[in-house]
């Protein structure tokens, strides 16, 4: 029941938020609940067997039997860390939004919790329809979050976000249904289970776009590519980020974008191995273009948040690059970079939010000389900047290095271009850092009537876990690889004929009751 409670407890929490009568105790309560959720997610480590690439802690109940749709949750090395990332970020977001969100506090926290259910469900669902439901559900709370608590162009941004993501995913729905009929053809009974999808052998004709596997591949890939977002589908992201409130940006960058790359890793690549192999060049190409493009466009942004948003485009390009390297190094790097990006970009958005709360402006040109006024803030920002530009011993470096190495092993040409992102990343981040923190004091900074205060204890509490993770993940990546290695290895080695076994939990006494309805 562990995974079920993990996924559905937040819904309960959301209901509690809605009916909770006392406004002052609402935030502490939300924080407490999210911490409980985090603690619960940590118990996965007790039951999870890292040496196995199989699906673990499986819960499967028939749901819509006519279509072979099951209530099917499971976890393996690929989803494990993303689940932890999600539960880890939520308390931080709640504390981070302590003062930023004044209006409709109940609704905000309810939306947060619903969003958490959707995200965790996306990562844990093993049934295609079940997955799709969570995938789409995640749009709704995010839509409200941007639309209600966002900036001045929030409505434009939120509708753009919703429609963009929906365009991709509806075609995925068609593809999923089509694959369900394929399972019926192949195995006699219809099934929406990912495990059965993996067993399908879908005919592939190289060089022909309108062939079955290629079309299905693109239907899935498009959905994920828009979510990632891969260039050139990225234009919703800067708008959404800029208009979203800080917690929204954090969760969007921190987790929601990962749903796209996770989808590529869990669905697209192993389901359509030949097509993925054949079209890998396309994804490598757009990934590399995204890396460079995101970086150069980020460089000239006048708005800090937009800069960070475009930097996300660049960073997400790295992840896609790593995944489509199809080797263990690249994939591990890709997965690791998902976590890194969640931490570092999440922290960047938190920091941008903090300074925005103080000055109500994000325009780079109005800042300057902040380092002299807000030393602690500067240090925090600098550490996160280091992580973002992948300085060794921070988490960003491990991911970027593995991705680039993996790409180099697979396709050196793309790696040569992608390496330029290393330089450009430093350029846009440091240039922004210089303009905001160094030099003479800018108009917002020297405003005597409105003195700026350095980090408050609450803000420290938000940033310290992020800082700890930055260095922990930079220094001891093996702690993290340990849990995902088996799964990634299995994915890489048996990619052309990928099969996910379900770990027989009956032998384990404590989880004997988990598998039912097989």
């Amino acid at each position: 029941m562990l995974l079920s409670s993990l996924v559905f407890l937040p819904i309960l929490f959301a209901l509690i938020m809605v009916v909770w009568p006392n406004k002052t105790t609402l935030r502490p309560l939300a924080l407490g609940l999210s911490l409980i959720q985090f603690a619960l997610s940590l118990t996965i480590f007790w039951k999870f067997d890292p040496s196995s690439s199989a699906l673990q802690l499986v819960e499967k109940y028939p749901w819509i039997e006519r279509f072979g749709v099951n209530y099917y949750l499971g976890i393996d090395g690929i989803s494990l860390w993303l689940v932890i990332l999600t539960t880890f970020l939520l308390p931080i977001i709640i504390v981070g939004s302590w003062q930023a969100i004044e209006d409709r506090v109940k609704g905000f926290h309810a939306a947060l919790f619903v969003l958490q259910t959707a995200m965790l469900g996306t990562f844990l669902a093993i049934d295609a329809i079940f997955f799709y439901i969570f995938w789409e559900l995640s749009l709704v709370p995010m839509y409200f979050m941007i639309g209600i608590w966002g900036g001045s162009r929030r409505i434009y941004a939120t509708i753009k976000f919703f429609i963009y993501t929906m365009v991709g995913s509806v075609l995925m729905l068609v593809a999923i249904i089509y694959m369900m009929f394929l399972t019926q053809e192949a195995f006699g009974t219809m099934s929406a289970s990912l495990i059965d999808f993996y067993r399908l052998d879908i005919p592939f004709i190289a060089g022909q776009f309108f062939s079955l596997q290629t079309l299905l591949f693109f239907a899935f890939a498009l959905a994920f590519a828009i979510k990632v977002p891969v260039w050139p589908f990225h234009t919703w992201l800067p708008d959404a980020h800029v208009e979203a409130p800080t917690p929204g940006s954090v969760i969007l960058a921190g987790v929601m974008l990962k749903m796209g790359t996770y989808g590529l890793m869990r669905w697209t690549i192993p389901l359509f191995p030949e097509a993925a192999e054949y079209w890998a060049w396309l994804f490598l190409l757009v990934a590399v273009v995204g890396i460079v493009y995101g970086a150069v466009v980020a460089m000239v942004q006048p708005d800090i948040k937009k800069l960070v948003a475009y930097s996300s485009v660049s960073h997400m390009g790295y992840i896609v690059l790593g995944l489509f390297a199809f080797n263990e190094t690249g994939m591990t790097g890709g997965l690791y970079q998902m976590l890194n990006h969640g931490i570092s970009t999440g922290a960047l958005f938190l920091l941008v939010g903090m300074i925005y709360e103080r000055t109500h402006s994000r325009e780079i040109s109005k800042y300057g000389g902040l380092a002299g006024v807000l030393p602690f803030f500067t240090i925090a920002f600098f550490i996160v900047t280091l992580s973002s530009i992948a300085v060794p011993l921070t988490n960003g470096f491990v991911g970027e290095f593995l991705i680039l190495l993996g790409t180099f092993q697979a396709n050196p040409g793309f790696a040569y271009v992608a390496v330029s992102g290393v330089v450009l990343g430093a350029v846009y981040m440091l240039w922004m850092f210089k303009r905001v923190f160094f030099g003479p004091k800018g108009e917002l900074v020297k405003d005597e009537s409105h003195p700026l205060h350095d980090l408050s204890p609450r803000e420290f509490a938000v940033l310290i876990p992020m800082g700890v993770m930055i260095f922990w993940m930079g220094l001891f990546p093996n702690h993290f690889f340990h849990w995902s290695n088996a799964s990634i290895k299995h994915l890489v080695e048996s990619r052309s004929n990928y099969i996910l076994t379900v770990k027989d939990t009956n032998t384990k006494t404590q989880s004997a009751a988990l598998v039912e309805g097989e």
Binding site: Q301, L405, V422, G439, L475, N478
Partner: protein
């Protein structure tokens, strides 16, 4: 003491110093902060000495201490250990780093006394030591890269130390970004090596290098070493990535001494020496290295001839001397390269600290046109600077003579060398003698041009003691590597350094027997010309101070060209930075906002256009609606019955 503990102490003591100073950075006591930092550096130095003793106590063949802390990254075949290796090659490096580092820390205590960011400064300095030690001790390329980027980061922080000044912050950023270009190449180099060898461990790589050299330009190893060298040009300020180093003088002067003269900038040289079997395997790369090194030596020296800022002169001098080191490693004279690295560390650190002392005395004035005659105000500084001057212009028997001479000789004599390379080196040496003498003359000798309100004075003892120690080292360190020809002449003095390093450094292949006469002639020629050039400079700047002005008038165009550093910065600005920014802006504006985004608007416009069409058809007249039904009916029947 166990090796692990020893090396931990060595590496971690500056880190702890950094943490202490970093956490209490708001308290402005420079003495306490400096004390902590210096102690940390000194502990590190003591450990280095202990390690050195341990190493000496070992049998010659097994002189190495390997320590593995933990597995850093293990993915598939990639296994990276947080492993450190001490062997004769890098024990010298750590002695220099911690030794010179300690002295510079000591110097800084006094120098930074009045700065309110002193604690921060010392924290950065300690962090730098930590990273530098990681760089030289790492037993694989990736751990080296940790230090490699780490020192760049500290350099960035220290150059931009006085961040309130936009230009200084910009200089820091320039340093970091230029280094990043090199680092990106370094990464590619690493990838190529990893793909070729399946490992990044230095020893394994060096053992796996094929015996026969490869002459292909496109072989992975040639490309790999070339990329590593590009990485080195970034860190070690060689053409074309040297541009950051002169700007880096925006940082506090002791920083320039430590980072931008003695240690960090030599990392590239160290890296190449570390991988010397590999580089010897790729003669093409070696040729490139030698040419770039030689050219850098001359070009930087020529710029040094014209500069007026005392630190800029020293900075270009550093670039030039680094060029010598690359010239050395490029011709396979790795020992000579390391030797020059060491002597240069001493005398250049000395000169930078000396200039710091001068600047301190002149109340932050750096223009040598406003100095002159400081000899009588600052005797100790002048004397130590004098020794540095003698060393750098290669005056026997000071240290610079031995190391520079060996480089020049081997660039002529080595099968990888060429007389042209020797000529480049010699021209560089002549120029060096000229501009260093000019610097001495304008600063210390001649008439005083010090403004009225400035009263120069000798620096306090905390500053002069390091100067004196470094002066002693600059004067005598050369005897560690006495060239064969002189050693023979003086009664078989051994080349201690070469023997000590013999385990790590592969000899130059096919090196012919030295021709003593040629060697002595070449030596005399370079020393002789250097002396003449120094004398000329003395004549021009002390005897006839109006002469240089007249001379520059005559070659105004050339002078301007050189004085403005060959307009390289402007060229970079105009050909790379501005186009990049402009292109980025237009990409953002035309591609992102006005194409990709607009494309989605077109779709929505089409949809809305369809909407207006339907709306206009929906005109409210029920007969029109009936007409639609009728038309639909007719069309359906036509379609179904006629088709």
């Amino acid at each position: 003491m166990s090796h692990q503990l020893l090396i931990s102490t060595l590496i971690l003591s500056p880190l702890i110093g950094f943490l202490i100073n970093g956490l209490r950075y708001k308290r402005h006591s420079a003495n306490v902060a400096g004390g902590v930092a210096t102690a940390a550096a000194a502990i590190s130095f003591l450990s280095a000495i202990l390690i050195f003793m341990e190493l000496l106590a070992m049998p010659k063949e097994g002189r190495q201490i390997a320590v593995n802390f933990f597995e850093w990254m293990t993915v598939a075949s990639l296994k990276i250990n947080m492993g450190f290796l001490v062997d004769p090659l890098n024990v010298i490096m750590i002695l220099i780093i911690t030794g010179v580092g300690s002295l510079i820390h000591l110097f800084s205590v006094s120098y930074m006394h009045h700065d309110e960011g002193a604690a921060k400064y010392f924290a950065y300095l300690n962090l730098f030591l930590f990273n530098m030690l990681v760089l030289v001790l790492g037993d694989n390329l990736l751990v080296m890269f940790v230090g490699w980027e780490g020192v760049g980061l500290c350099s960035y922080l220290l150059i931009g130390f006085w961040f309130k000044d936009s230009d200084k912050a910009a200089a820091g950023m320039k340093a970091f970004v230029t280094n990043r270009v090199g680092d990106a190449a370094f990464l590619l180099g690493m990838f190529l090596l990893f793909v070729s060898f399946g490992t990044l461990n230095f020893q394994e790589i060096n053992n796996m290098v094929p015996a026969d050299p490869t002459f292909s330009w496109l072989s992975p190893l040639t490309l790999g070493t070339l990329f590593l060298f590009i990485g080195a040009t970034g860190k070690s300020a060689q053409i074309p990535l040297y541009v950051w180093l002169p700007d880096a003088m925006a940082g506090p002067t002791p920083v320039s001494a430590l980072i931008h003269a003695a240690t960090m900038v030599t990392a590239g040289v160290y890296m190449i020496i570390r991988l010397n079997p590999l580089f010897l395997h790729t003669p093409n790369t070696m040729l490139v290295i030698a040419i770039i090194g030689g050219l850098t030596a001359v070009m930087a020296a020529s710029i040094g001839l014209t500069q007026w800022d005392i630190k800029k002169v020293l900075a270009y001098s550093t670039v030039s001397q680094l060029g010598y080191m690359f010239l050395a490693v490029g011709v396979g004279a790795f020992t000579a390269g390391l030797f020059h690295l060491m002597t240069h560390a001493f005398f250049k650190a000395l000169m930078f600290l000396g200039s710091g002392s001068v600047i301190h005395a002149m109340h932050e004035e750096q223009d040598i046109r406003k100095m002159g005659g400081l000899k009588k105000h600052m005797p100790i500084t002048h004397f130590t600077f004098l020794i540095g001057w003698l060393a750098i212009i290669g005056m026997p028997p000071f240290s610079g003579f031995f190391s520079k001479d060996e480089i020049l000789w081997l660039s002529f004599h080595s099968p990888l060398g060429h007389p042209a390379l020797w000529a480049l080196g010699a021209v560089g040496a002549v120029m060096t003698a000229f501009y260093m003498t000019r610097l001495m003359a304008l600063t210390f000798w001649g008439k005083s041009r010090v403004p009225q309100d400035v009263h120069p004075h000798e620096s306090p003892a905390l500053m002069t003691i390091p100067l004196i120690v470094l002066a002693i080292l600059s004067a005598f360190a050369g005897w560690l590597g006495v060239p064969h020809v002189i050693g023979a002449a003086l009664g078989h003095l051994p080349n201690i350094l070469a023997e000590f390093l013999s385990l790590n450094i592969k000899p130059i292949p096919n090196l012919a027997e030295a021709n003593v006469t040629t060697e002595i002639i070449l030596m005399s020629v370079s020393v002789g010309f250097a002396l003449i050039s120094a004398a000329l400079a003395y004549h021009m700047y002390v005897r006839n101070p109006e002469l240089p002005g007249k001379f520059t008038e005559k070659v105004k165009g050339l002078h301007n060209f050189v004085y403005n550093k060959y307009f390289v910065d402007e060229a970079y600005e105009g050909s790379i930075i501005q186009p990049l920014v402009q292109t980025s802006k237009s990409i953002w504006f035309y591609v992102d906002v006005n194409f990709i985004d607009k494309a989605t608007y077109w779709i929505s416009d089409i949809i809305k256009g369809g909407g207006s069409l339907v709306r206009s058809l929906q005109n409210g007249n029920l007969q029109t609606y009936a007409m639609y039904v009728a038309i639909g009916l007719v069309m359906t029947l036509t379609f179904i019955l006629v088709r």
